[in-house]
């Protein structure tokens, strides 16, 4: 069904192709529901990558703290949000990083939506 995929601007649809690519990364993020796993990650990131058999692209994306790269490596935002939490990033921080804005600009844009008619 790949040939007829709908293209949505600025949006990577998390479908089977992406889900296959990102399985290990998402499995790692899913493990962060448990505090001992979050601590293990913070204690030794590289060992934790290997425990979940992350691909090189996934490792590089996480090392770089770049959310767009994590998405391209197959990460799903519902699971990546748990990693963002560990890294101390709010959803505004994540939004700003992906859109190339400062966090203040990103927040101002959201507030502006509320003020326009």
């Amino acid at each position: 069904m790949t040939s007829t995929k709908r293209q949505i601007p600025g949006t990577l649809v998390f479908d089977g192709d992406v889900a296959q690519r990102g399985y290990e990364l998402n499995a790692m993020c899913f493990s962060f529901n448990k505090v001992e796993n979050r601590q293990a990650f913070l204690g030794d990131e590289e060992a934790y990558y290997d425990k979940f058999k992350l691909t090189d692209a996934q490792k590089q994306a996480v090392r770089s703290r770049n959310v767009l790269k994590m998405l391209n490596a197959g990460g799903n935002i519902y699971y990546l949000a748990k990693l963002a939490g560990i890294l101390g990033l709010s959803v505004q921080d994540v939004g700003a990083q992906q859109t190339g804005m400062s966090v203040e600009e990103f927040k101002a844009r959201l507030l502006a939506y509320g003020k326009e008619n």
């Binding site: 998390f14 998405l71 509320g114």
Partner: protein
């Protein structure tokens, strides 16, 4: 006999849970959103439901990609919240209504909905945040819950049309339930928002208005789009409106319904946040008689 008193529709982002934990209801950023729940809480005090049937989506607490159901119906005695990884306080557990759950499951399978049955099910902020908004005093929670999870995480998602049909089938099952139950239906999530990608921060007020205008009188209009069309219109998390569509389906025919309250506020976190209360007129009449 069971009766459906009405339906509550509400956003569910984790930041709201955080604001509740920190007591920010009167803070200028939060007040316009929290105030939307005043008429809902007043209504709930008046109609005294004992059962909540809630459509929501899991955010990676109970379900992972190893076994991702399209529709999952809880059939547990108790539903626990749990650590989701980002520091939200763990909510009090809620009692289940396993008898009603199995009645709904029997009815859905007979109607050819291929649901996954969950006798254990951790429930995340997507349900506990709206419950806290509606019943701020968790210590007094006396209602029983039937949670129904819809996949909004991994495409292909169910179509809005299929979600509406699921809700309608749940509504028929509830109407046939032969035990006493005063039921409120709930749909959580939305409205437009997108956390991921170059389009992060996307909000679409026109589409949100379209949803709010048509939810009560013409839900079939919300089901006219495909799931991918809604992702485009409403954002990759705006698609959580599937939960609203299913919940609206459970309320049945528009002729019996009345919109009692509506609130729409931007922004809450990255989200166009909303709350809606729809009540069943037939129930209201019975109460007066």
């Amino acid at each position: 006999m069971a009766e459906i008193l009405g339906g509550i529709f509400a956003s569910h982002v984790p930041a709201i849970g955080n604001a509740i934990a920190r007591g920010l209801q009167e803070d200028p950023y939060w007040k316009p959103f929290f105030d939307g729940f005043k008429p809902i809480r007043e209504w709930l005090e008046r109609v005294r439901p004992d059962t909540v049937v809630a459509f929501y989506n899991d955010h990676g607490l109970n379900f992972f990609l190893d076994k991702m159901p399209t529709f999952a119906v809880g059939a547990a005695a108790t539903y626990q919240n749990s650590d989701e990884g980002w520091g939200l306080p763990v909510a009090r557990p809620v009692s289940g209504d396993a008898g009603l759950s199995w009645h709904v499951i029997e009815s859905l399978i007979a109607d050819e909905f291929d649901v996954t049955t969950c006798q254990e099910m951790l429930v995340d902020h997507a349900l506990f945040v709206p419950l806290q908004l509606c019943w701020p005093d968790a210590a007094s929670w006396s209602f029983r819950l039937v949670p129904i999870a819809i996949n909004t995480v991994q495409h292909p998602l169910p179509s809005p049309k299929r979600c509406l049909a699921l809700g309608q089938a749940v509504g028929r099952a509830l109407a046939r339930y032969d035990k006493d139950a005063r039921i409120v239906v709930m749909g959580t999530g939305g409205l437009s928002h997108q956390l991921d990608g170059e389009r992060a921060g996307f909000i679409n007020k026109d589409y949100d208005r379209f949803c709010l205008e048509n939810l009560c009188p013409k839900p079939e209009l919300l089901a006219q789009h495909s799931s991918l069309e809604i992702v485009e219109l409403s954002g990759s998390q705006g698609i959580e409106v599937l939960n609203w569509i299913a919940a609206r389906g459970a309320l049945g025919s528009a002729g019996n319904l009345e919109e009692v309250a509506r609130n729409y506020h931007i922004p809450i976190s990255n989200t166009a946040a909303a709350s809606v209360l729809i009540s069943d007129k037939a129930h209201a009449k019975r109460e007066l008689a």
